[in-house]
Amino acid sequence: MRIGIFICHCGSNIAGTVDCARVAEISTGFPDVVYATDPVYTCAEPGQAAIEAAIHDHRLDGVVVASCSPRMHEPTFRRTVERAGLNRYLFEMANIREHVSWIGKDRDANTNKAAELVKMAVAKLRNNRPLLAKSFEVNKKVLIVGGGVAGIQAALDCADGGVPVILLERESTIGGKMAKLDKTFPTVDCSACILGPKMVDVAQHPNITLYAYSELEDISGYIGNFTVKIRKRATYVNWEKCTGCGACSEKCPSKKTPDTFNELTGVTTAINIPFPQAIPKKAVISAEHCRQLTKGKCGVCAKICPTGAVVYDMQDDVVTEEVGCIIAATGYDLMDWTVYREYGGGQYPDVITSLQYERLLSTSGPTGGHIRRPSDGLEPKHIVFIQCVGSRDKSVGRPYCSGFCCMYTAKQAVLTKDHLPFSQSYVFYMDIRAPGKLYDEFTRRAVEEYGVEYIRGRVSAVYPDGEGAYVVMGVDTLLGRSVEIKADIVVLAVGIEASRGAAALAEKLRISYDNYGFFMESHVKLKPVETNTAGVFLAGVCQGAKDIPASVAQGSATAAKVLALFARDRLENDPQTAQVDTRRCVGCGKCIRCCPFGALKETTIRGEIKADVIETVCQGCGLCTTTCPQGAVQLSHATDNQILAEVNALCRC
């Protein structure tokens, strides 16, 4: 090889504590190095031009730049050498800024260390091979998992962009959590009025196929070419025939079915349509509560149904779809707030979650929009809201902020005053987090116009006073005294966690998730809707707590990603993938077992079983290379020999 070395001064960032000229001089003694220099700013336009010129002038076929972190400028310099005609993988970087000049003051030691890092880079480069990307076709169809507001927005944007969309929803209607809300902050406009039309658009859009009451069963493939299996759960109603008239529900004798749409604040019938604006507006039978299905006698709904849509022996159905990319928008669930025993964790009927309170406020809710205590149906007079129940609380393993509770609590307090003008609301809070547009103004209105009493402090206990009310004991940290408030109803702003089943879905999608089940984005700041699995995007709360505007924005952002991806007919892979030396491979299959991406499969070559890499699926982690005992699978650009060359450069000296 003919290798050129560029020891960057980075102004004084490196040259301040590293003798760059000396490093360049030492580098000339390394094998295959035919040129070494120490430019002041290598990444600047003249610096890059100098590299290109050196490649031509000195017939270089390999370049090492010693400068900042490769996480910073590796892509830059790869493009530089590529412009000069070299393969981008015949380039290595030595990080002598973040790892040398910025962390040590000893000039001699730094200079020596920098030279050694260059030596390692040269040793590796001498084992590098040109790598070429492969291109493959894209199936221009997108799967969106989750029909909440984020998923709906993504679906509509993709569909409007001409991309066929498959929208998957676990419940029998789309709408997600937003559909359960009465009003939304900070405008206090009706949730159903703004979400409803979008839901109708989903139902009517020619590019959207909706699978409600369905779940993702299995997924295989890779960006551009995923195959997904969808389990359509048995609804016991033929939706082709169901008109959504609701006659079945009226006559259903099983009237004690817990109403999950109403967050268990009321009951419904075994066959039901969750709420009037449901999309699809189709009936579903709850198998656990239907008399026909549990006891084998009833059959009222089948008799009453004008279209004969009820099918008691319906089975789950699994359908297969081919898509090019996937958006996960699975939202959230409330954490198990019953761990807060001191707040009466689930034992006092009038201590309820904010989502339950939302249903009490809603006209389509169990009380028809009248606020009544669950215990005795009386109108409450004193309402206490407790914030951060399962948010920012390490003691229950929820150190994070749920993001939107401050705002909806203010909204609920405001609505409470509207509903019950003679009521008094109290809010126990830790901090008020209202950074959005018009948010702080809104919370101020709650205090100033609606007379909501905000108490900064935590509640230590809630207990029944024995006379039908509850005593809320807490502390007011601003006044520095303990407070006790008699409340008729206590509303807990319960913290959120990733939707149940999120971890299992993440494993199917082969994306990472954090300790709380929230999916990991590719980069916190710069790639907030991408994941580390190519072709899988994230929208809404499944990635982390956020409110409706942010969820909608992310939904649109993922749609933009999808449309950009589908703007190309063919995709190129990252050629830093594993390669199998089929002569060395003995077909033991250990790599196949370990691959986190399913990128290895068995193949038969001349009657013998061998491993085979699906290059488009391979993400380049190299676990297979580590696993293969005979070194038959090698991760390109991080082969055993490349790493060994670095180890040897360091240790054999």
Partner: protein, 353 residues
């Protein structure tokens, strides 16, 4: 009559010390205690306990090390033109003048086999030659046969002098030393051991007794042709080698196996430069016949074992007149699965006959 000396058992250290003055190293058999005890040749140092047993590993290392540096190379750059590289080589053979003390006749005969390619061919190997020419072999005759050895089948015997400079025979607690070669003569003349001509008859008697302890040897005259005739008989070879594990124990313990591999290590730059290594290789290994094209004519263990047996008992004797096996039996006693080359040869004689 050649020079004969007598070495009393308590005179051994002094004699080894005398040999050390004449040679840069004296290899003696020592016990390596482990749960499986082994006897290995090691350079003698004063105070080292010596055993006169047949060694687990023959002293082939003395002339053909397990791994040796054939040459070192250094690359240097022209500072005016860094792409212009000069390579300097150092290929001076590293040869210590060596005495082997108390190997067995089969081991000594092994050197004769090694001499053929390395010394007597068209291109003598300078590394081997340098070591071989400064080698003195003190062989101790066997007092009996053993369960795995068969030197008398292949032209040797418990007191065969071939390859030895001095032949030693144990008589009670003393050793009788008999010069075989001129080098041996000179050494014995030079030492201050007492003359032992009068005990020579007793030594002769002991040697005869050793011969008498051996079972009668089969006639292997037909072996080369018969084994050659079986070359294409896959069933035969398969049935004989199905237990083989394809390891290198048999060849690496063989005093007459001499195959090697050459590898280069190091890029030639820096303080370490580069080295060209010659290391033992063996025909039981798949890589042995792995061709540059990727093709391998001996992919399976059966043709590899066939090669080993044929080489020792057919092709080598057909070309060079003697077996390249000395019947030391180490390949049998050390085979992890107790494969017996004698049985294969006999089966070949039977089968073709």
């Amino acid at each position: 009559m050649s020079t004969i000396r007598i070495l009393a058992s308590d005179g051994l250290p002094a004699f080894l010390s005398f040999l050390s003055q004449k040679h840069q190293r004296v290899l003696v058999p020592v016990v390596k205690s482990a749960n499986k005890r082994s006897v290995i040749f090691e350079p003698w140092r004063a105070g080292m306990p010596v055993v006169l047993e047949k060694a687990t590993v023959p002293p082939k290392e003395a002339v053909l090390p397990q791994c040796e540096t054939l040459l070192t190379y250094k690359k240097s750059k022209n500072q005016e033109d860094l792409g212009d590289i000069t390579v300097s080589l150092d290929d001076t053979p590293e040869a210590l003048s060596t005495a082997i003390f108390a190997c067995r006749p089969c081991d000594a005969r092994g050197f004769r086999v090694l001499d053929r390619p390395f010394l007597n061919g068209l291109f003598p190997d300078p590394y081997y030659k340098a070591r071989r020419e400064s080698l003195t072999v003190f062989t101790i005759t066997c007092s009996s046969g053993c369960n795995t050895c068969f030197c008398h089948w292949v032209g040797g015997g418990p007191s065969s002098p071939e390859g030895s400079d001095v032949l030693m025979t144990k008589i009670e607690e003393a050793l009788m030393l008999q010069a075989i070669s001129p080098a041996g003569e000179a050494l014995l003349k030079d030492c201050d051991l007492p003359d032992g001509r009068d005990i020579f008859p007793r030594a002769e008697a002991a040697r005869k007794a050793a011969w008498a302890s051996l079972a009668p040897a089969p006639d292997l005259k037909q072996a080369p042709q018969k084994i050659a005739a079986l070359f294409g008989n896959d069933d035969f070879w398969q049935s004989q080698t199905s237990g083989c594990l394809s390891c290198g124990a048999c060849t690496y313990l063989c005093p007459a196996c001499y195959c090697f591999n050459i590898t280069d290590e190091g890029d030639g730059f820096g303080v370490h430069g580069g080295r060209r290594l010659r290391s033992w290789d063996n025909c039981m290994s798949s890589l042995f016949t792995h061709e540059a094209s990727g093709h391998n004519p001996r992919m399976l263990k059966t043709p590899r074992m066939r090669n080993r047996v044929s080489h020792k008992f057919s092709t080598y004797p057909e070309n060079w007149g003697t077996f390249s096996c000395n019947g030391c039996g180490r390949c049998i006693s050390n085979c992890p699965v107790s494969l017996d080359i004698r049985a294969i040869v006999l089966a070949a004689l039977d089968n073709a006959g």
